[in-house]
Symmetry: C2
């Protein structure tokens, strides 16, 4: 049987995954909850609830920038909090996970329809980092018969831009690829740009580092940049800044730096809404003013609440 | 004895050097001219002049963005064009090379004095790519007792930013290093930014790719960005766009890209003067309006003239 101490190791592959998008990682986290529940024979209901809490917290800590992990974990804890029996816990947890998965999939399909309309036929489209939502939108557009080419850059240090190039090429989309700093040479030929989202709140949008210079370049060149995200990425203000906890080892950037050189490896950054043409969600293409209505409705389980620095 | 056909091989190390600055490479090119002249025993003066022309053109073609290679080659051809005897050619060539080297060194020293005044004590300073001019300015400031730290990024794909980090750390300057797209996370802590220059003309400044997004970010954050360059990098309008010839092999970016993925590897880009706080030269800190007086005085040897697309 899994022990509580095994949980950090179970979530390690999620913690170390620097090349998958937030929605994709959330789907994998469902398996971790299911594995925990499939292996609780000798436990009472309180002990099972404790495991769910520890699993939830471990998943959130593994990728603090990725809102879907938070919301899925939160949904499991909220759904099971009033359950008395082990059976009730199992059923509530299963239902919460299934509903969350269905929400992700339904969102993806509605978002893809909106993105389809934003892709000008025959043109170059820029896509940054690796977002499973953006990928499914582009592949959907291609399969519906829209012809276009995609430009993407490497996304150092994890190089998930190469994964994007590979996946799109496999799906029959012609790809133009270059290194990150060369975006200024190819962007002027692009008509629209898309990026995924890790989380989004009233102060702005959090995504893979490099999104901010991309957004500046798009504004300078007059290229509309859309963030593509289901509303399951929306979070409260204090949760938004959790992404700053996601420091990674310096060795991922430079294995053996010389003495006197300090190497930084942060993976996410905040992009202000003023740099975006819009936020493509399953609720339509939203603007900054629309965010509050979704954020203010978010209920958070007691054990996952953060202390607000303003309270 | 070297043959004319050997010249492309002699300049190959310069063509393939992606991590050295333009001024540094010009100093190495002096050795190539000297090697050509040290090995002409059986040749007449016309044959020696022909070799100088072929060497000049090969050096310019090796790094078409790097203005000092052009000006040094041009100076050699201009100085020797009216020479009759072999001795005259030797002396004229030697003098031209020595004067060019002296000009580079004198420029560097005057520029370093100006840059010293631009470095705020105790602050973070951003430096991009690898410029021997910028390096000598920073090391000079440190050796004159100014304490500051330098932030630099990798400069994919050749990673000359690591070379910069290493050289500065060896010189006793503390360095903060990260990958290129993370510039937005560290730039807000910097008080000033410097970059080198490969060539500069009335339309703008040419430097390593990535300089343009850096310049946009600096403007957005209100950080003054200075180009640091001797006026030996100034060129005429048509010469400026020669940098677009400097395509590099795709394999330097991605060794084995999948089918359907086209990989671009261009190394230089144009930065408009409007994004710069100033151009630090041996003639003082110049602005766009000052450029013309230097550009209009440039005399070019007949064999190095480009056909202007507007003539």
């Amino acid at each position: 049987m899994y022990k509580l101490e095994d949980i950090p190791e179970m979530v390690l592959p999620i913690k170390n995954d620097l090349t998958s998008g937030a929605a994709e990682i959330a789907l994998r986290a469902i398996n971790i909850f299911q594995a925990m529940l499939a292996d609780t024979d000798e436990l009472g209901s309180d002990q099972i609830k404790e495991r769910l809490k520890v699993t939830a917290q471990a998943l959130i800590d593994a990728q603090p920038a990725m809102a879907p992990l938070f919301h899925m974990s939160n949904a499991v804890l909220m759904a099971t909090s009033n359950c008395q029996t082990i059976d009730e816990i199992y059923r509530a947890c299963d239902t919460a996970l299934m509903e969350f998965e269905k929400r992700l999939c339904d969102s993806a399909s509605q978002i893809a329809d909106l993105v389809y309309e934003l892709i000008p036929p025959g043109e170059l489209v820029f896509a940054y980092s690796f977002s499973s939502t953006v990928v499914s939108c582009l592949l959907n557009a291609r399969s519906k018969g829209r012809y276009f080419r995609v430009v993407c850059t490497e996304s150092r240090p994890a190089m998930e831009g190469r994964k994007l190039a590979q996946v799109l090429a496999n799906g029959g989309i012609e790809v133009v690829h270059t290194f990150d700093t060369a975006m200024g040479l190819i962007l002027p030929s692009c008509r629209v740009a898309f990026m995924g989202t890790d989380c989004l709140g009233r102060p702005g949008l959090v995504n893979k580092v490099g999104s901010w210079p991309l957004a500046l370049a798009c504004r300078e060149l007059g290229i509309p940049l859309y963030a593509v995200t289901g509303t399951e990425k929306f979070v409260t203000d204090e949760r938004l800044f959790e992404f700053e906890k996601h420091d990674r080892p310096a060795q991922e950037v430079w294995t053996d730096p010389p003495k006197g050189v300090r190497v930084l490896n942060q993976q996410f950054e905040l992009i202000p809404f003023s740099l975006l043409a819009g936020i493509v969600t399953e609720q339509g293409i939203l603007q900054e003013k629309d965010i509050n209505q979704y954020v203010s409705k978010l209920a958070v389980h007691e054990s996952l609440k953060l202390e607000s620095s303003f309270s």
